[in-house]
């Protein structure tokens, strides 16, 4: 890369990101905050690409631009119908200085901690064990084989989030909005197959290139949100004994089964037998993707869906 141009690129990107972060947290207008944050996510994806992290760029594109954006915009619509929040009012300088001093101290401590990290990192260790991982993409190998325990906990956090959201009460009422244009249902019908196709493509890519269960699940979840917005009635219900509770916990259950069965056949927790690693990871990826998609979609509903959608107000 031509050095001057690449410096200009980095500087522009950094400046835009800082400005957008400031706007997102301090703008007087709430919508300006939210839209600044959505653009912030977009530019963060460019930063991930610049830092050679295409896996994270994919996840940022799917989660940041898709699910988080939809969550924030929908929440904004519900918030502003309530009494308006006060804009960022007078700032008290002593308080600001105290906050900045605290933040700078924490930053310095974290920086000192990061400075003491072991220098070469784990790149060599991962590269050395990749032939036994069962996949070719090192990030997928770390996520679903070497550090599968983290991934189990992470899907557990997502499941816990949905349980927390359901426990807050039923889904707020106007779930399916007024359709402002006949183009919207057509858009939903046209794009849904594309979403499914992209999900399978990302799952398949994930074993040998950037992609995998998270990105695929996030894309599918965002697709579900789009179809709901395009006027479809949600099919996810909150009934007590329905299939959905099982499907939502499918990812956690399969990962636990995989972990426990490895201990039963005499290996250590989550230590797959080398010959079966590829198959186990494939099963885990598919179930995790389905589960993540459903969980993200359920999180979007902002509450426990009713046992039956038919007859639900305005749906």
């Amino acid at each position: 890369m031509a050095p001057l141009a690449s410096h200009a690129y980095d500087l522009l990107l950094a400046g835009a990101l800082l400005w957008l972060a400031w706007q997102a947290t301090h703008a007087a207008d709430l919508f300006r905050s939210v839209i600044s944050f959505i653009v912030f996510g977009l530019l963060m994806a460019l930063a991930w690409i610049r830092l050679d992290a295409p896996d994270i760029a994919l996840a940022e594109a799917a989660i940041g631009a898709g699910v988080t954006g939809a969550l924030l915009l929908s929440a904004l619509g519900r918030l502003t119908s309530a009494p308006a929040e006060k804009p960022a009012a007078t700032r008290r300088w002593p308080g600001t200085i105290a906050v900045l001093a605290l933040a700078a101290t924490v930053l310095a401590l974290l920086g000192a901690a990061a400075w003491q990290l072991p220098a070469p990192g784990l790149g060599d260790a991962v590269a050395g064990h990749m032939p036994r991982a069962g996949v070719d993409n090192p990030v997928t190998g770390v996520l679903l084989n070497f550090r599968a325990f983290d991934t189990l906990l992470e899907i557990g956090v997502l499941l816990l989030a949905v349980v927390a959201i359901w426990s807050l009460g039923p889904t707020p009422e106007p779930l399916v909005p007024a359709i402002p244009s006949p183009a919207l249902p057509a858009l939903g019908r046209m794009l849904w197959p594309m979403f499914v196709l992209a999900t399978f493509y990302l799952l398949w890519r994930g074993t040998h290139a950037p992609g995998g269960a998270f990105q695929a699940g996030a894309v599918l979840g965002a697709g579900g949100i789009l179809v709901i917005l395009a006027g479809a009635r949600p099919w996810l219900t909150g009934e007590d004994n329905g299939p959905w509770r099982w499907l939502l916990s499918l990812g956690v259950v399969t990962m636990l089964l995989a972990a426990l069965s490895t201990t039963l056949i005499g290996q250590r927790f989550f230590e797959y037998p080398e010959s079966a690693a590829a198959g186990v990871i494939l099963v885990l990826e598919i179930t995790a993707a389905i589960s993540i998609a459903m969980l993200l979609f359920a999180a979007y509903l902002n509450g426990q869906p009713p046992a039956r959608w038919r007859g639900y107000p305005h749906s």
């Binding site: 244009s181 919207l184 046209m190």
Partner: protein
């Protein structure tokens, strides 16, 4: 450089002014409807030329098909988005400029 590379680079360069004029319109045009008009040029022609140029340059059919798919998806999104925004703006009583 080969001929296909020249052609591809030329097409990519030709696409950039459309994106730039989209921003110019976004900044200088007076209301939502005229800005929609300016943006469509960037989305459709600008990105289209860039995709075609890159497709020629890459010299691989799968890459070219993927570029085409991305362009078509952006077309669908921008066309529906423009329609939705214009329709909703009218329904909400935003007056077009000059009327």
């Amino acid at each position: 450089m080969t001929l296909t590379e020249w052609l591809g680079t030329a097409l990519v360069i030709a696409g950039v002014p459309f994106l730039l004029s989209g921003t110019l319109g976004l900044l200088r045009f007076p209301d939502v409807y005229t800005r929609l008009h300016a943006l469509a040029k960037g989305d459709n022609v600008g990105l289209g030329l860039i995709c075609v140029g890159l497709g020629i340059q890459s010299g691989s059919v799968t890459v070219a098909l993927k570029l085409l798919l991305i362009w078509v998806l952006m077309l669908i999104a921008s066309a529906t988005g423009a329609g939705l925004i214009a329709r909703t703006a009218l329904a909400r009583g935003l007056k077009p400029w000059g009327l």
